[in-house]
Symmetry: C2
């Protein structure tokens, strides 16, 4: 599948590498594609990323770095992997309103590091990023997922507790959620829980405040929750 990733940090690089490994045709969109040697927050440079992913390719995957707009035009499926505060701006730069009715996986969280650590989780009953993105880009089929775990767990759920834990999907379009669930299963996810329409993304977004404390209490980002029912 052709996949366009909006963003180039740790989440974008991790998802992009996994999708390449699985044989997808990935364009990773960044604000300035000429800056291939800029060190990314919590991740390496994009030149290193390009060199690294091509080592893993056995299934004919493709990987390229381009602009936000090229990534959005390229993908049959889009992924928002920017910082939450930058997401709507990045999607505007990507001209995401002009790409038609594509599925957009939204993985982003709004975190406030201005008052030190642990960061504040800015989601609330009245501030849900996924709802805001869906409102700003009504052509897109937004599916919130993967925002509740760290990047290494996103693409390797079996590396934690044998994969016996849960990932969530929220969105208004049932077919879009089903397609995203398939992709998640190809990453190794066994328990994909559909929380409901896009407003249900308030749940996983506000949960970030809990995840931040779980990281603090356990001392590792290799942590998640299993929904027992």
């Amino acid at each position: 599948m052709k996949i366009g990733i909006i963003g180039s940090g740790a989440v974008a690089q991790t998802l992009g590498a996994k999708l390449f490994e699985l044989g997808h045709d990935v364009v990773l969109g960044t604000r300035d594609p000429s800056k291939l040697d800029e060190k990314k927050n919590m991740a390496g440079t994009l030149r290193e990323w390009l060199a690294g992913v091509t080592k893993t390719g056995k299934l004919g995957g493709k990987a390229k770095v381009a602009t936000f707009q090229e990534a959005a035009a390229h993908g049959e499926l889009l992924i928002n992997a920017t910082h939450g505060q930058a997401s709507v701006d990045a999607l505007n730069l990507a001209a995401a309103d002009k790409v038609g009715p594509k599925v957009l996986i939204d993985t982003a969280n709004e975190l406030d590091f201005s008052k030190g650590r642990p960061p504040g989780a800015l989601a609330s009953q009245d501030n849900c990023l996924a709802e805001r993105i869906q409102g700003a880009f009504p052509n897109l089929k937004v599916v919130k997922t993967l925002n509740t775990i760290g990047a290494p767990v996103m693409v390797a759920p079996q590396a934690l507790a044998g994969g016996e834990h849960t990932v969530f999907v929220s969105g208004n379009d049932t077919a879009a959620k089903a397609a995203v669930a398939e992709l998640l299963k190809s990453f190794g996810w066994k328990d994909v829980l559909d929380l409901g329409d896009i407003s249900s993304a308030r749940g996983p977004e506000m949960y970030l405040a809990m995840w931040i404390r779980l990281w603090g209490a356990t001392g590792t980002g290799m942590v998640n929750i299993k929904v027992v029912r």
Copy 2:
């Protein structure tokens, strides 16, 4: 142990009954103790509660209904089981500032039912009930716990997934958290995770937005999370 419960709804009645069953001396505090025949939201009347609990007592437990103030004076350990929006007011009526350095278990959540269901979870980075209670009653040793599950699961964790799931404690006083963890273990909890100081209660309070969606998605309040790490 002498335990004073502030509140008389479903959570208060459920915790009170379990504590009685375990042999504790429970005073359940309510706004107007003369209204023994008033039907409580999601629970029966206090007259029914008194009649019901006494059937379970094999360990010498005691149960009484009294005012908020009598409950707060009675307990060596206090429990806030009011609605979150009413908690500070109820603790003021209980004269909780004049009872000395008691441990207060805070189980409350601020939920907004004014816009229909599912209710809004009002906790946010800037609105944490447990922090507000600790600030208003600096004499108390506030421990946030049990707010992340429904009342039936609080006192019978083994009824769900064999008890293989997690409950959280947050608070500034280590000894208070240890005492509360002991009480939780007497309920059957196996995994009591200390999240940190009282500010870490933002995690479980904001998590309520997720719990509300888990209830919606699974169709049952018999649902919780197991932290895998």
